[in-house]
Point group: C2
Chain length 580, copies 2
């Protein structure tokens, strides 16, 4: 593409509403423009990158026997009522009535539509498995859209759904998608990590998120540093093993005793006042799990993992108790809850608490705590279990190795849905014995537009973005410094044609701009390779070639250019971990 015929409205300044680097650079490089909060136009350069990502996704999906379809953006409310999500989904679901007053929503996801499609067609186990995907525009009415393409309201997603006749089939479909996702992210050229994620009621290891690693990521993932182990999980999911050794919760302990802690509500305040460290104190958190009151105990220096608590109880929904409920259940203001005398029947404790005794805890009485609490003696714990959020000082649950926290951007998710939708929407088939069964489903998402942003989050410097060659808007930018020198411009035009013939996706900056402007814009946009043609170089028969990532410059000879360029190009792809 000759840039004189192209449209790249770059900006000199960061837009005032841009908080993260990808948002700033996508705007400054003329790749996107804001229409309104969380809604963007993709300009030619941005769309080109988006389409390259989409094509890699498409190729790997097709290779894994998934079939591409296109489902509608506007979905009937009735299908969402059937699944129960019409009432459950909340305000992110944008609802709309048509001219006849019928309900619709803009699809944030397509489980209902795809299940409705398949239930209409599939009658027999012989027609299974089926795996359908689409690359499509989605809408979620985020309460606070921000970060440009990272968390928009309208965005492009690949969403796929598999239908199998049994668990074994569903697990094989899951495995195929898991492997395909690894190939997708490898081919895109980003440093990524599949991490275990919560699989809710399904259980098992059938939920993985794929994270692009970037310091600016919003998510934290726990990664084992032992390379042969490879354990990685998000914080919701990451297991903490029970401490080694005998249970100490019934060990000897002085008699329980009340202590006045006037106005001391927080762990910090109580510990300072009583001159103890937080690991000597028990924190009592109150929840409702599917409406039932529940208490969870963890050490003062730990955090309760509510997802673990909910899953252990086999619940669907977990909420913090409201202030009034806390008061009712404890008989005290907020800040003085404890396991002794609590009007909550079900009390669970993190298994770490089993390893010690003689605790401090709230007394369920205003301005009062208790000392010398023995969990085995003074109260009834229904179960000791893994209930807390992992920390970097915990060992890896698989190998005991060192856990480190890393920041990631979630760009993909594979998930075994089981029979959740097929039961509600009655998507059944006749099995080998003529028995009607619900299909076993899986769902698989990739945030296509988010990948473009996360590529920049992971790869940028003070001059601008640095795109992996596989998804760069153009792989090569050729800059002519000829100005009005016809000999240089002719040579440049010739070389441009040659690169096109070689099948290279090249931008030829033939604009009447100063060299400094051209260099700065090429760096800003982040084409991985730059070729510079100047009068001086031409005379000596050379072209300057710059690797945007390393800044390294080499000289390519005009004589035998194709060969020299091809080998330089292969090196650059290789340096991104990519093969041509």
């Amino acid at each position: 593409m000759r840039l004189s015929r192209y449209y790249i409205p770059t900006l000199k300044e960061d837009p005032s509403d841009a908080e993260v680097v990808s948002h700033k650079l996508l705007m400054r490089a003329g790749m996107i423009r804001k229409v309104t909060s969380g809604i963007y136009n993709y300009l030619p350069l941005g769309l080109k990158s988006l389409n390259k990502v989409a094509n890699i996704v498409r190729e790997e999906m097709n290779r894994a026997y998934a079939l591409e379809v296109l489902m509608p953006m506007v979905q009937p409310g009735d299908l969402w009522r059937e699944s129960g999500r019409w009432d459950f989904y909340g305000k992110e679901l944008l609802r709309v009535s048509d001219r006849h007053g019928r309900d619709y929503c803009l699809g944030p996801t397509h489980e209902e539509v795809v299940t409705d499609l398949v239930r209409g067609e599939v009658k027999s186990y012989k027609q299974l498995p089926i795996n359908l995907y689409q690359i499509q525009t989605k809408f979620r009415d985020e309460i606070r859209p921000r970060f440009g393409l990272m968390r928009g309201r309208e965005f492009v997603m690949k969403d796929g759904y598999s239908f199998d006749k049994d668990e074994a089939g569903a697990e094989e479909s899951y495995r195929l998608m898991f492997e395909a996702y690894k190939k997708v992210f490898s081919r895109i050229g980003l440093r990524f990590r599949p991490v275990q994620a919560d699989s809710g009621a399904i259980g098992g290891d059938f939920s993985h998120e794929f994270h692009v690693l970037a310091d600016t990521g919003e998510d934290t993932i726990a990664v084992c540093q032992n390379e042969t182990c490879g354990y990685a999980a998000n914080l919701e999911k990451a297991k903490v093993n029970a401490p080694a050794g005998e249970c100490a919760c019934k060990a000897e302990c002085p008699a329980i005793e009340e202590v006045a802690t006037p106005g001391k509500h927080t762990v910090e305040e109580v510990c300072a006042f009583l001159e103890i460290s937080a690991d000597k104190l028990i924190k009592t958190l109150l929840f409702k799990v599917d409406g039932e009151p529940v208490a969870a105990l963890v050490r003062g220096d730990r955090e309760v993992n509510d997802v673990k608590l909910r899953n252990m109880m086999g619940g669907n929904e977990i909420e913090f108790a409201l202030e009034d409920e806390v008061k009712e259940w404890t008989g005290a203001p907020v800040g003085f809850a404890g396991p002794v005398g609590l009007k909550v029947k079900r009390i669970f404790a993190d298994h770490e608490l089993c390893a010690s005794t003689d605790w401090v805890a709230g007394a369920n009485k205003a301005d009062t705590h208790i000392k010398h609490l023995s969990l085995g003696r003074d109260c009834k714990i229904e179960k000791f279990a893994d209930l807390r959020v992992i920390t970097e000082s915990d060992p890896c649950p698989d190998c005991g190795g060192k856990i480190e926290f890393t920041k990631g951007i979630e760009v993909g998710h594979v998930f075994k849905l089981g029979e959740k939708y097929s039961k509600k929407l009655e998507a059944t088939f006749l099995d080998e014995n003529g028995k009607s069964k619900p299909m076993v489903m899986g769902c698989y998402g990739i945030g296509v537009s988010r990948i473009v942003a996360s590529a920049i989050e992971q790869n940028n410097d003070e001059s601008g973005a640095i795109f992996p060659p596989s998804i760069a808007p153009f792989e090569v930018c050729m800059i002519s410094l000829g100005g009005k020198d016809e000999a240089v411009n002719e040579k440049a035009a010739e070389l441009y044609e040659k690169l096109m013939e070689m099948g290279i996706d090249v931008a030829y900056d033939d604009r009447a701009e100063r060299p400094g402007v051209k260099f700065a814009e090429a760096d800003l946009i982040g084409y991985p390779m730059q070729l510079v043609l100047g009068g001086k170089g031409l005379k000596s028969g050379i072209i300057e070639a710059k690797n945007r990532k390393t800044g390294e410059k080499i000289e390519l000879p005009l004589e035998g250019f194709a060969e020299a360029f091809t080998s330089w190009r292969a090196e650059i792809w290789q340096s991104w971990g990519l093969s041509l």
Copy 2:
């Protein structure tokens, strides 16, 4: 693609709600499925065809220097208020409020968004022209969606918008798009016709519709049969020249005379009662043009063309007078309006009426008409002009040749918008003299999903669809009759691989179905080429090749297959008017 791994849920019966052949066959061939009224899923086969159309459109747009972007489906109401269309567009515009109560609409078209985008970036004439297009899902809340993909609510469209610094530039942009559209439809392989269409306030010949010719088309177009002329226009636009010869409207005529026509309201009733032919009677139609009362006179056997009337008056909106208005303006019930004594100041007559005198017309009095009306003598006609709808007995307005009516399906439209949106949205630039001017715009649409349907409307037979090879879901279907004969199946697999290597988009029907089922489905889906491998043929070293369109079968030798196939394929493409 091996069909054993594919998903083509064919239907034996026509769906009950399908009225047109494309809807029936798209459903039966497993290409689409209905989600709800006017909203469809594209199944793998349907999406493949859709994408082939989209790619041809994309290539020709790019070649004509249009740049691809992607604008959002959800658009802010405020932009539509700026253009004035928020109130004007009516119920086809699906409006929605977000969680914060802000107004949005689902984009039926993108003039507002694209003008907003360009006004934010373009400051100088040096940045013009710009031509941006997108291939995107649109939504129009049709009151009565029907005919499958022909008139859906959610559909795929290519819409493009050009911005120029002056009229000459806008006309050149228009011309480029007009030529590109001709290439698009030629490459798709459909019989089509660009026809002149109404360009409203813009005037001139800057509105063309592209119609796929099909007997089942909803639109009627007037086409000159003189091939060297080539005149073609839609009925709104088609000119009717003034009759040759002198004006006769002031010619001698007996004195005007009332005649009782009790209960005779319609042209037919009056003519039968008075025993005259309809061409002796004047029909008086009453309108409001931008709110102003207007009468239009045409011969009893003609139809008023309200678009011509509106354009002649330079109006924006034309409506029929309501019943109460007719009564007020005529002083009589509906059915007795006439030009004499009418309380409407502006009366226009079709120029054909100038060629004769001694007319019958309504008397503006219940149950009464007048005879011996002379338009030149008895009433005041503001202007005689071309005001009626063309008929097949009218001569071609350009060459006098024979006009015939043809049915067409509108699949494209190129239109010079002028300054309509740029003025309202203040999309201005500084010209060569530093003067601020509104940009001159054009807009260009192609109904991508509608093309898939119209290809079937134009090409089908009792066995099913017949796709042009350029947009067929697969170009070739290879059917193995091997059953359990491993030798045949091996040979088939080998040939399939060979075709894939040759870059042929081939479906290999390797399913365990009876031959009859495979043949019927291949015909139903309408792959343009079929290759049949049977045990018998294989022994004699031949493969049967069938041209779906003609039904013609030939034998291709296994020895030297590639060459023989390539030449047969080229012939088939050629028979569709396509080059490879």
